[in-house]
């Protein structure tokens, strides 16, 4: 996606409303789409409660009302014949950068005050492409340029909604991005000649920031208790970090090497932080027992299925990472990170059957209930259970088969992808800046993509620093 300034985004919204042909637009917006359904005769992969053959799912008002066999459709409820097909919980992508117009506030080693929730772009067709791969929710993250980046946003893929706020899962716990290793040391140390330029520096930047936040909170508390005349000067940055210390905001930490995982766990322990999810965590397998032992419930790990060797800190990787972590009782999920890669997460999950012989259920958990738990939304989504949101993905064959194809994707009971009603051009607007629909050249690599470090290049250039090929170090 081309980066849009707020002003330009507003202009786009305005233009879209002027240009949209009502008939077509209405359909794609799914404004009046029903959210009462009876899905019939499917193989239902509940993930948390086994498999139901010839199963029915009754959806009422966007929630899963009943799961069973031979259910009947109450009046006004539409039916979908899913015989021969497989229904699984909507896939949850624990790490993505789609649906936002900016990724990195790469101007300072600590930028906890910013949040990608402020730059959501509901028009990003990547959201639709996620739906076309059975994805219903995603953790849209700040980039990895800074040891402490900005806040992330947990969204549902309600593609068709034009209000950015409509994507947000309001009840989801807030999270903030941290980043260790090569990305922050390259951006700040190498690129700007300031700390951190080493993994030692990364630790101290984080310790400094958390210490400041603790003092800030202590000053606020002292003011409230009457021990201080004035409150400390308001700092949004320190408010967010104080939220980390209180456990209200969960750190999601871009990390690769085993030593830096140990470092961060030690830091968090010193500050009394119990919950953390490590992202990418390619060397998580080396310290799996330590991850499982962390805090009250263990540290979470959200990993790639098989990416490695794109930079040095992922050279000593193994595609068996997810299996080793799972076998060592670490709460583990898979993620796709890069817009464009969100379409085939079911295949990525299937690879864990080759790399470590995980069971079907274990493999499916990596893209459903496990990321839901890591994101604190497991009470609403991530499995097929009565009372949960009707976030469902229907496949032609078992979703772990390479030959399967997504048929329908429901978000809150609304069909937002249907392979039988899937025109070529699913854009909701045409970017006035991109009037010529130029093709991306097909020399496709992850290096082209709008991922963790995207934006660092431009930001750093504006501050007078050149970071050549910043796109190259992307995760």
């Amino acid at each position: 996606m081309t980066a849009l300034s707020p002003f330009r985004l507003t202009a786009c919204l305005l233009l879209a409303s002027l240009l949209a042909r009502p008939g077509v637009a209405q359909d794609r917006l799914r404004a009046d789409a029903p959210n009462d359904w009876l899905i019939q005769d499917a193989t239902v992969l509940t993930v948390t409660n086994g498999t139901i053959e010839n199963g029915d799912i009754l959806v009422r008002d966007g929630d899963i009302a009943e799961i069973g066999q031979d259910l009947s459709a109450p009046g006004g409820v539409q039916t979908y014949d899913a015989s021969g097909e497989f229904v699984m919980p909507g896939i949850i992508d624990a790490h993505q950068h789609f649906g936002i117009s900016d990724v990195n506030e790469a101007t300072n080693p600590v930028t906890a005050e910013v949040g990608v929730g402020d730059v959501l772009d509901p028009y990003d067709v990547s959201l639709y492409r996620g739906l076309a791969g059975g994805v219903t929710a995603a953790h849209v993250m700040h980039g990895s340029a800074n040891p402490i980046g900005g806040r992330n946003e947990t969204i549902k893929l309600r593609y068709g909604a034009t209000n950015p706020d409509a994507l947000k899962i309001e009840a989801a716990p807030r999270t903030v991005k941290l980043a260790l290793g090569e990305n922050p040391t390259r951006v700040h140390g190498e690129g700007r000649d300031i700390q951190p330029s080493t993994r030692m520096g990364v630790e101290q930047v984080i310790r400094d920031a958390l210490t400041e936040a603790r003092r800030y909170q202590e000053a606020k508390d002292a003011y409230q208790n009457g021990e201080r005349d004035r409150p400390p000067e308001h700092s949004e940055r320190l408010e967010v970090l104080a939220g980390v210390l209180s456990g209200d905001i969960i750190p999601h930490v871009h990390s690769y090497r085993a030593d830096e995982l140990m470092m961060l766990m030690n830091v968090l322990e010193d500050f009394g932080v119990q919950d953390v999810v490590f992202q990418h965590v390619n060397e998580g397998f080396k310290v799996a027992p330590e991850l499982a032992e962390f805090g009250d419930d263990g540290a979470g790990a959200s990993v790639f299925s098989d990416w490695w060797a794109y930079k040095f800190e992922v050279y000593y990787s193994t595609a068996y990472n997810a299996a080793i972590l799972t076998e060592n009782d670490v709460l583990t999920s898979l993620n796709s990170d890069i817009p464009g890669e969100q379409r085939d997460m079911y295949l990525q999950a299937a690879k864990t059957k080759r790399y470590g012989d995980l069971t079907d259920t274990e493999a499916l958990k990596l893209i459903t209930i496990n990321p839901a738990r890591q994101l604190g939304i497991a009470d609403r989504t991530g499995s097929i259970e009565e009372g949960k949101d009707a976030d469902l993905a229907i496949f032609s064959e078992h979703p772990l088969s390479v030959y399967t194809k997504p048929q329908r994707t429901y978000v809150d009971g609304v069909v937002r992808f249907d392979h039988e009603d899937d025109p070529d051009d699913m854009r909701l607007r045409v970017d006035p800046e991109g009037t010529v629909d130029l093709a991306r050249d097909g020399a496709y690599g992850r290096t082209d993509a709008n991922s963790c470090l995207h934006g660092a290049f431009l930001q750093a250039t504006e501050s007078g620093v050149t970071l050549e090929d910043a796109d190259q170090w992307n995760h």
Binding site: D422, A439, G442, A449
Partner: protein
């Protein structure tokens, strides 16, 4: 030597034990110093196997005899020779080794470290660069790739107008020359592109047009020069006494075989208009019969035109988003099928390095998106062998062919399938890689939490 015959540190100890019992072999002490376990030669006999000889020709139960580097015999009624080591493949399927028609495997170790990258020489005109020279036989990515049954890859130079010469390599051997398959070399042309490099490419359409035109002018200038250089070379060769040799221009010298029609020209083009322009260019230059098209992400838009030009296409990667926001999400997956339906000869490529291993899954996606399993298998076996002119050597399981094959417990394109044995050039290659070794070391780490 017998000890190397099996994958001693197989992640399936029970299965290994059963095989060892069956063949009366014992484990030898491990040699931890070895960088990788070497392969061993036979003769071998794979018995009771389902044998996919070609994509359309399967033996339900048969035997394959491997002697030296070749398949000595294959058929339903072949008797294992007395000196062969017998592997019972009952309930297993044997596939011909898979071929990836476009990678940079062996030419890059770590993506962000230029010291470890050898496929991108400086300059627009580096047609004399030979990929084979820089193939590192000990690249960590090679074992990682071949354990999925991939035995052969085209490995290519990148960047610049004429980046150099690509080579077909076999994924077993200790020198680039040992790995060179059938002596196959292709000169690569990165056709001037009107597409965008990626999301960060914000050039205006006018700027792109201008740059493309400049690059195309440059290409024509280079080709004029190459044709003249070849003419002079011929003239000198005809009358060496009477003519003065021209100044030696390595990049021109390297283009002589292409200009003379003796070597294929691998043209990478992806945007529809670029493919179209490339075909016109090749026609005008009289090299169209040598052209192999690579990439072709938007090939489906002009499939009839490509079919009419009668050039084969190395399509991929398959698992990528479409080239335009306005295209359906699955256009890249359907591209091989749409080209095939139009009558184009299609092989598949990953255009990758460390994850060339995903070739079977790219093929599976192509299969489910219209190509079908048989054609998808062709596109990673017989078709590339034909395109590269080595169908007398590789691509099928037939007597006299090189013994490039692998044994699975199921469909080779399915992620859940395990590869159980692998042979390359007649060598039984251990199924281990950095990834499997780390798994073995760390699944149950010792010491665990307490030292």
């Amino acid at each position: 030597m017998l000890s190397f015959f099996f994958d001693r540190r197989s992640i399936r100890p029970l299965g290994l034990f059963a095989v060892l019992l069956a063949t009366g072999l014992v484990l030898a002490p491990s040699s931890a110093e070895a960088q990788k376990q070497p392969g061993v030669q036979g003769p071998f006999a794979l018995t009771n196997a389902q044998i996919i000889q070609t994509p359309t020709d399967t033996i339900d139960t048969g035997t394959i005899v491997i002697r030296d580097e070749t398949i000595a015999a294959v058929g339903p009624n072949v008797t294992p020779p007395d000196d062969a080591r017998v592997l019972d493949a009952d309930g297993r399927t044997v596939y011909p080794g898979l071929i990836d028609s476009g990678t940079q495997l062996g030419l890059q170790e770590v993506g962000s470290l230029s010291e470890t990258i050898d496929h991108n020489e400086i300059g627009d005109l580096t047609s004399n660069m030979e990929a084979l020279t820089a193939v590192n036989p000990n690249s960590v990515s090679i074992p990682v790739t071949r354990v999925h049954g991939i035995t052969t890859v085209l490995t290519e130079p990148t960047e610049g107008l004429l980046p150099g010469v690509a080579a077909l390599v076999s994924l077993h051997g200790y020198t680039p020359q040992q790995m060179h398959e059938g002596g196959v070399e292709l000169t690569k042309l990165d056709y001037p592109s009107t597409g965008r490099y990626g999301p960060s490419d914000d050039r205006s359409p006018q700027a792109i047009e201008k740059e493309t035109k400049k690059a195309l002018d440059k290409l024509n200038e280079v080709w004029d020069k190459a044709e003249r250089y070849a003419q002079i070379d011929s003239a000198v060769a005809a009358e060496p006494e009477d003519r003065r040799r021209p100044k030696y221009l390595p990049s021109m010298q390297a283009l002589i075989p292409v200009v003379r029609g003796e070597r294929p020209l691998l043209i990478e083009a992806n945007t529809a208009s670029d493919i179209s322009s490339a075909l016109d260019w090749a026609e005008e230059r009289g090299v169209i019969d040598q052209v192999i098209l690579s990439g072709a992400l938007e090939g489906w838009r002009i499939a009839d035109e490509i079919a009419a030009a009668d050039v084969p296409v190395l399509v991929g990667p398959i698992m990528q988003p479409p080239s335009r926001d306005s295209d359906r999400y699955d256009k890249a997956y359907r591209n091989p099928a749409l080209l095939h339906e139009a009558g184009v000869t299609v092989a598949l490529r990953t255009n990758n390095v460390e994850n060339v291993r995903n070739l079977p899954f790219h093929a599976g996606f192509a299969a489910s998106h219209g190509l079908g399993k048989t054609e998808a298998l062709r596109a990673v076996t017989t078709t590339p062998a034909e395109i590269f002119g080595v169908s007398d050597r590789i691509g099928t399981i037939e007597e006299g062919k090189r013994a490039n094959l692998f044994v699975t417990d199921g469909d080779a394109f399915q992620p859940a399938t395990d590869v159980e044995h692998l042979f390359i050039d007649g060598y039984k290659v251990p199924l281990e890689s950095r990834h499997s070794k780390l798994f073995e070391e760390f699944l149950n780490r010792t010491p665990g939490l307490e030292k």
